[in-house]
Symmetry: C2
Subunit: 459 residues, 2 copies
């Protein structure tokens, strides 16, 4: 800690209440959940309690030209919350209040540090839900905004982008911006809400978010379809999504991933051996409706449709198994992490190319001997590959080849995890310089000194 560092920390302590700044850094603030990203110890961790405190923190960082890294639940998978050694982490755990639920109007106004678990619990009694379930309920709304978090249910209700109605932000210049109110439609200028969503904290610090609420499904049925070939999946998915049955989730799980998930959850799905032997991929499809009668009818139609389009068998799971399987799918990251995965990829391609990408992964698996297990939000063209290789460098090589493949198919490096630091080199190696230049100009308008989460994301 230099004399400059001390002056900075002392100025920062001066604008925060007594316990608002930590300079002995607990380990958990030195990283997020990204695999393969080395921890970094910041100079301090600040805990603002309101927007005014956030603005004071930004001003102080500007005065001392110190980087600031926002942090929500620390559950990010791309290193977006990795600290900067000469700056501070701004943790939103003391800005975690649910400010207002307007169930009549279908929205809630929340502070960015609110976890999805707390939001979901508060909404349970209203019959509504915030429909973005990225698979990690300890993540925060602010963190979800940063990465445009998606998850299994995005196929029905969209990602964070489609479910945020407006937000407040302290820009990197220290200005307080209300992008716009809680509006379902907007055509009164560039949509700054949309610009902030997915910007990974590089434009400023989000201080308030208005989220859209949707009906909490009253009745659900989970189907699992077993498919012999990857090639059959896209057609079945296309027909399902075109049917008007509107599945609440439509999830691809390969046989390796399903076995690992079932094993980790102690779940016996009871798929007959003659079916499992012939199966290379499973499709999880959830139907929902306002009552059991309607839901049953939807599930019946969906099962018939999957059987007509290549499913060897379609199973309707009993509620307890359905719940356990979905929970296991949500824990898939922890399962593969425990198995020693080196990397988790998050590419997105136009849905027409999903089979090409899955086959490329299979080919790499065969060629290298590494495990490249896939689960994916197949209805959105978004696939997660877990790579377990003999060495980190083989894992890296496989990741590079899969990313190049996805880009060649018209895809992008990340669909929902973000770029952070983990995927930045891969992104910049392929990115159109014009896109980089435009993004840098936009960043400069919000954050002229480049202090907000430097070295993260695209710009």
């Amino acid at each position: 800690v230099t004399r400059d560092d001390e002056a900075f920390l002392s100025a920062l302590a001066g604008v925060l209440p007594g316990d608002g700044l930590l300079t002995e850094i607990p380990e958990r603030y030195t990283h997020d959940e990204a695999l393969g990203v080395e921890p970094v110890v910041p100079l301090g961790v600040a805990f603002p309690e309101d927007e005014a405190a956030v603005a004071r923190i930004v001003s102080t960082c500007r005065a001392y030209r110190r980087p600031l890294v926002p942090r929500g639940g620390g559950t990010g998978l791309a290193g977006g919350a990795r600290p900067h050694p000469s700056g501070i982490v701004v943790s939103f755990e003391r800005m975690a209040r649910l400010l207002e639920i307007d169930s009549e109007a279908g929205w809630a106004r929340v502070q960015p540090g609110l976890t999805l678990a707390d939001l979901d619990e508060a909404l349970a009694a209203t019959g509504l839900c915030y429909p973005v379930y990225p698979g990690e309920l300890s993540s925060t709304v602010g963190g979800n905004v940063a990465t445009n978090a998606g998850g299994m249910r995005a196929v029905r209700w969209g990602t964070t982008r489609q479910n945020v109605l407006g937000l407040r932000l302290v820009t990197g210049a220290g200005d307080v911006l209300l992008t716009h109110g809680a509006l379902a439609k907007y055509s009164s200028g560039y949509d700054l809400t949309q610009l902030v969503i997915g910007s990974e904290g590089t434009l400023g610090l989000v201080t308030e978010v208005s989220v859209r609420l949707r009906p909490r499904p009253l009745a659900t049925t989970l189907l699992v379809g077993a498919f012999r070939s990857l090639r059959a999946l896209p057609t079945a998915v296309a027909r399902l999504l075109a049917s008007g049955l509107e599945p609440g989730l439509c999830e691809y799980v390969d046989k390796t991933a399903l076995a690992a998930m079932a094993d980790a959850a102690g779940l016996v799905l009871g798929v007959p051996a003659d079916v499992t032997e012939q199966t290379s991929a499973y499709l999880m499809v959830e139907l929902d409706a306002s009552d059991d009668d309607l839901c049953g009818r939807l599930a019946e139609r969906a099962a018939t449709l999957l059987a007509a389009h290549g499913a060897l068998e379609v199973f309707a799971l009993p509620a307890s198994q359905a719940h356990a399987l979905i929970a296991a799918r949500e824990r898939a990251f922890w399962t593969v992490k425990a198995l020693g995965a080196h990397d988790i990829l998050d590419m997105v391609v136009p849905r027409s190319h999903i089979a090409d990408l899955l086959e490329a992964a299979q080919a790499l698996q065969s060629a290298t001997g590494a495990v490249v297990a896939g689960t994916g939000h197949v209805g959105d063209g978004n696939v997660h590959f877990s790579i377990l290789a003999t060495t980190p460098s083989l894992s890296e090589e496989i990741a590079q080849r899969l990313i190049a493949e996805a880009l060649a198919l018209g895809g992008a490096v990340s669909g929902e995890h973000g770029i952070g630091v983990a995927k930045r080199d891969a992104l910049l190696a392929h990115e159109d310089p014009l896109r980089v230049e435009l993004q840098r100009a936009i960043k400069h308008a919000f954050d002229p000194d480049g202090l907000c989460n430097p070295g993260k994301g695209a710009p």
Copy 2:
């Protein structure tokens, strides 16, 4: 036409094929459909046939520092396509091809000049549709992108913003930008697609759009609920949207507007006199499903729900009447224009405040003697008021007061028509200078010389 003008037009003619530039300007290119916006004659109208021609046009305009105004179907309601007297209109009527339908993947790639009517016709056989129906099928996809067009069905599927997967743009600097491919999810940098949507041609000229396709409803039922009081509407709408029945449209029509629409369409709805006498507002609700059986069940539940939340009566219309009423609603603009409306407003408020806004309109109507008739996308908090006053200045005063009221309720000047020139003064009178400054910086990054649709929209 000055010597400079001549040099510019001659340079422009040099980069376009023989009939690619008109300098005798047909009347229709001098305006769009905005009420109260005076026509302007441009120096020329250019008709590019491909992206390369668009890029040549932009380069030529840059070399001569001449403004360019993009034009789709010319159906805009805010004067966004009003020409500039010293510049040109770029009409996309020769870039109107449907480039690709991938019904398997659920998207289509189109040129910006394609009309919604042509797109819808091409999609009819696929069982899919582009779900944005702004009420004017002669509008183009490019024009819809410019204003983030919405319409009646946005309550189910969202506005243009939620249904464009990627696009191409020639920026004001003359660079060709692919924002990203046809991706349902994206977390690989700032979402430039979203930035362009709703930017009213002020960042550049859109040359290609990938749109999302949704199931074309196979069975539909239209309900009309009669409500005694405006105050009952928001609760009924909230319960309907929270029910999981997912109406395909949820439209408020006041009794004045319904009478005018029915009259213009020669439609007899057969609502008993004792009901009409007690009614001040109607709610149109469409249910849809994959077959008649399911649809009937949904409609039954929706009717019960509306009756339980304040509807005096709920009528299920026969298919032919349903079709005619929806068509009449889509023609509402032409109906009120024919009646001599001075202005059409397009404010959006958080849905919780819709009754406040409707009551403010009623109060102004009573106080001024003007007609302030409302129809609205009530499920999205978006209301259109048609103002028929004794003088244009009274109309203007009523418009200003309603806009101020909407902004005080946390709303915005436009939900789907855009700002154009018609609502620019109203917007700038109230707009946060920080939002203006940020938007100007963004515009400058895309359009450094300020040639793209100057004087339109927010920045």
